[in-house]
């Protein structure tokens, strides 16, 4: 596994087709898969930019974005940082999504077909840089406009005159 990870940068493989039937089938086994197989699946999804772009769309469409924002979190924890409560392995993320988690992560079991869960897994992993760098990370850059001036001369009034209505305290 380590070796596979370290090879990524050199290989720069860019897979752009949709998952093969075989791959679709093997996803069912992921939860019980041997380490070797889950590593294979992980690598495949992490490098698949088509899958990741798909994942981003699905992440928005299934309202993940409402709770986790674009990775920074909100009602749900951030997904772009290095901290994981339930683990960053694809099958663990799969588990978070499909079965839910006790402190407020809803179960999407029966709501998202498995063929769509895996691209979401790949996208979630890409937020914290766990996916292959060569697979494009479709971030939302359009909201990243110029930063507002952080400190500007004070324009707020600070008068110390008494209001008319306060002039005759009772």
């Amino acid at each position: 596994m380590l070796m596979l990870m370290s090879c990524k940068r050199e290989e720069r493989a860019l897979v752009t087709q949709s998952p093969s039937l075989e791959m679709q089938r093997s996803r069912y086994e992921v939860n019980v898969a041997s380490n070797g197989e889950s590593a294979r699946i992980k690598t495949w999804f992490d490098r698949n930019s088509w899958s990741m772009a798909q994942g981003k769309q699905l992440y928005d469409a299934y309202n993940c974005v409402g709770c986790h924002a674009h990775g920074g979190g909100g009602m749900g924890p951030p997904l772009m940082d290095e901290k994981w409560i339930y683990g960053s392995e694809p099958q663990q993320i799969y588990g978070s999504i499909v079965y839910g988690r006790p402190n407020g992560m809803p179960s999407f079991h029966g709501k998202i077909p498995d063929s769509q869960v895996w691209p979401i897994v790949a996208y979630v992993r890409s937020m914290s840089g766990l996916a292959d760098q060569s697979a494009a990370n479709p971030r939302d850059d359009h909201m990243k406009g110029p930063l507002p001036p952080s400190s500007v001369p004070e324009s707020t009034p600070h008068e110390v005159s008494l209001p008319e209505s306060a002039e005759q305290p009772r």
């Binding site: 674009h70 920074g72 909100g74 009602m75 951030p78 901290k83 407020g104 209505s165 306060a166």
Partner: protein, 623 residues
């Protein structure tokens, strides 16, 4: 002088009365329109039915506030946003923590030792559907009972003396995204409670439960047919646009009212003379307005209802077809103003024995108007006639670009067309941001200065409307947001507002949103807290800072003041940053994403550098 005498009497009364007779005394004062004399207690978070947060205690004054020091502290054991008010009844203080909503009774005769605590054990899953941190805004006392709501939609009634659970009623459904964060109000033996969840397409309501049995007496929805909204023959709104049958259905695309928001998560005030309650309704769902053409009644407005039947008397909509999640839930403070004339008096007695005479004089002069004052999220301070719902004035208290004013003829806000959201377009510099000119944090009103004290933020935003799909129990928004300082100013401010002259009298700029509540006293001192963690005392007349104390964490709570068993005046506040503004710290959000915390994170990037999580009660007194 006379009023100091009163204080002594009430102190004596407090000391000698048995619990039962004390409760009778409280009952008597609750039955009259106004809290008669200051009794040194603080039995509901807003202090009184009028929601003035004004105490007639005056031991702490302009010239001695600088001597305030910590009397004792208490750790709540919960490190999330502490938005609750510590309330005081006799010798006991009660406070409720954020999720898991532990209710503590603390002994004031023993520096806050725990008398009892109650753990309602709300469902853990509720945490995931609380839009803006897992906050709770407090508990309320009435006739020997403590009432509060849990995040997972249970209304709890406890025996105030023992902490024994009297009843617990489930009134909502977290699987739909419904939570509860507001403080109940008790009127005529009914606990009035409302729901949260406007970000989840929850259908808003206000519900009345019987204080003795916990049974639901009535429920008034904020959307849907008139029968569901308890709109009947008594309903006489001031403006044409609020008249017609089933507007809660007709002002929506087909069926959309069922997931239309209008939740009731703010404050309720009560005018005993008119027997009317007043409360605001939250934003319509989804946030993206393009997906719900129409006025979206009865969201983003204020209802006046009969507390006994729930029947609506009038409604006024701050934001018809709200575009920017400018919930209408700000507190509606009950005062009587002489509008247009020079003399001003307030309905809230200051404890001065002349006030009755004064009030009568003004009533007969007929210049007096019974009004509501409300600093709304959309950035205006409104003055409404509380008997009719007519808008008497609406003036901006911050820079506003989202709208151009309020048409006093039609009552309708004039939206700025340049800022109208459109799917796929990023609109820049929308002010106020969706968090509003002011959010949940309640104002105070002093009858001595006739000023409204407004703790608030000053934020604008970039707003991108996107598609939204409704999936039960998940956010129903359709908007990407990024907030920042409004017009290059500071992000927060604490100001004093003159509702008669309709202008800001003084203002204290703050680096971060002022997300705490505030209170005013007869010592002409007001208090508020900052997100850095400073608790501040201010000269109520001039805004001159008098004193500050740095607490362990940022302050987003509601200060209260009371007379201790030793006859001294105390001021209490919870420290512990959080809430929507402070979620970047309390929920460890990643501020590299400007849209985190529904876009608030972008404005709070530097908060983690000045404060960390906390959960401690501070009680201050003069030496």
């Amino acid at each position: 002088m006379h009023y100091i005498g009163l204080m002594h009497v009430s102190l004596l009364v407090l000391r000698i009365l048995t619990r039962a007779s004390l409760l009778l005394a409280l009952l008597a004062s609750a039955a009259t329109a106004q809290p008669s004399a200051e009794d040194g207690q603080w039995t509901m978070p807003a202090k009184n039915f009028q929601n003035t947060r004004y105490s007639a205690l005056d031991q702490i004054k302009i010239d001695n506030a600088k001597n305030l020091r910590v009397a004792w502290t208490f750790s709540t054991g919960v490190n999330r946003g502490q938005e609750a008010a510590p309330i005081v009844v006799g010798d006991t203080m009660f406070l409720v923590t954020p999720y898991p909503n532990i209710l503590y009774a603390l002994d004031l005769k023993n520096k806050g030792a725990v008398k009892w605590k109650f753990e309602p054990q709300p469902a853990a899953a509720a945490q995931g559907v609380a839009c803006c941190d897992v906050v709770n805004r407090g508990c309320v006392f009435d006739k020997g009972k403590i009432f509060f709501n849990t995040l997972d939609d249970n209304v709890c009634a406890l025996d105030a003396a023992t902490g024994k659970s009297l009843w617990k009623t489930k009134v909502g459904e977290i699987n739909r995204g419904e939570t509860m964060t507001m403080v109940p109000l008790v009127v005529h033996d009914k606990v009035l409670v409302g729901n949260s969840g406007g970000e989840f397409g929850v259908r808003g309501w206000l519900t009345a439960l019987d204080t003795n049995s916990g049974q639901i007496v009535w429920r008034a929805y904020s959307t849907g047919p008139d029968s569901d909204c308890l709109i009947g023959p008594e309903f006489k709104p001031f403006y044409e646009s609020e008249r017609g049958k089933d507007l809660g259905v007709k002002t929506w695309p087909p069926e959309r009212w069922q997931i239309g928001g209008g939740t009731v998560w703010g404050w309720i005030s009560y005018d005993a003379g008119a027997n009317l309650i007043f409360y605001g309704t939250g934003n319509p769902a989804p946030w993206n307005p393009e997906l719900r053409p129409g006025d979206n009644k009865w969201t983003c407005g204020v209802f006046a209802r009969n507390p006994d039947t729930g029947q609506a008397q009038w409604f006024y909509q701050w934001n018809p077809h709200d575009e920017f999640a400018h919930d209408g839930v700000s507190e509606n403070i009950i005062v009587d103003l002489s509008i247009g004339g020079s003399a001003v008096a307030s309905a809230v007695p200051s404890g001065n024995n002349n006030s009755d005479a004064l009030r009568t004089a003004h009533t007969t002069a007929s210049a007096m108007r019974k009004v509501l004052i409300s600093a709304q999220r959309n950035g205006y301070v409104y003055v409404l006639d509380r008997l009719t719902g007519q808008v008497l004035s609406a003036d901006p208290f911050i820079r506003i670009t989202a709208s151009k004013g309020v048409d006093l003829k039609t009552g309708r806000i004039i939206n700025n067309e340049e800022k109208t959201p459109q799917i796929g377009k990023v609109i820049r510099d929308v002010a106020p941001a969706s968090a509003g000119g002011k959010d949940w944090q309640p104002c105070a009103w002093s009858p001595r200065t006739n000023l409204l004290y407004i703790p608030h933020q000053n934020l604008a935003m970039d707003y991108e409307a996107v598609e939204a799909s409704y999936i039960e129990g998940t956010p129903y928004l359709g908007a990407n947001i990024k907030m920042y300082a409004n017009g290059g100013g500071k992000r927060g401010e604490y100001c004093a507002w003159d509702s008669v002259r309709r202008k800001k009298v003084w203002a204290i700029p703050e680096e971060f949103p002022v997300w705490s509540g505030t209170l005013a006293t007869a010592g002409d001192v007001t208090f508020y807290g900052t997100m850095e963690g400073f608790f501040k005392a201010v000269n109520a007349r001039t805004g001159e800072p008098l004193w500050q104390f740095k607490t362990e964490s940022g302050i987003v709570g509601q200060p209260t003041t009371f007379l201790g068993p030793d006859g001294r005046q105390y001021v209490a506040v919870l420290s512990g940053v959080g809430g929507w503004a402070g979620a970047v710290v309390s929920a460890d959000l990643d501020t590299r994403d400007p849209t985190a915390a529904l876009g608030f994170a972008n404005a709070m990037k530097d908060l983690p550098q000045v404060t960390a999580k906390g959960g401690t009660l501070y009680v201050f007194a003069l030496p």
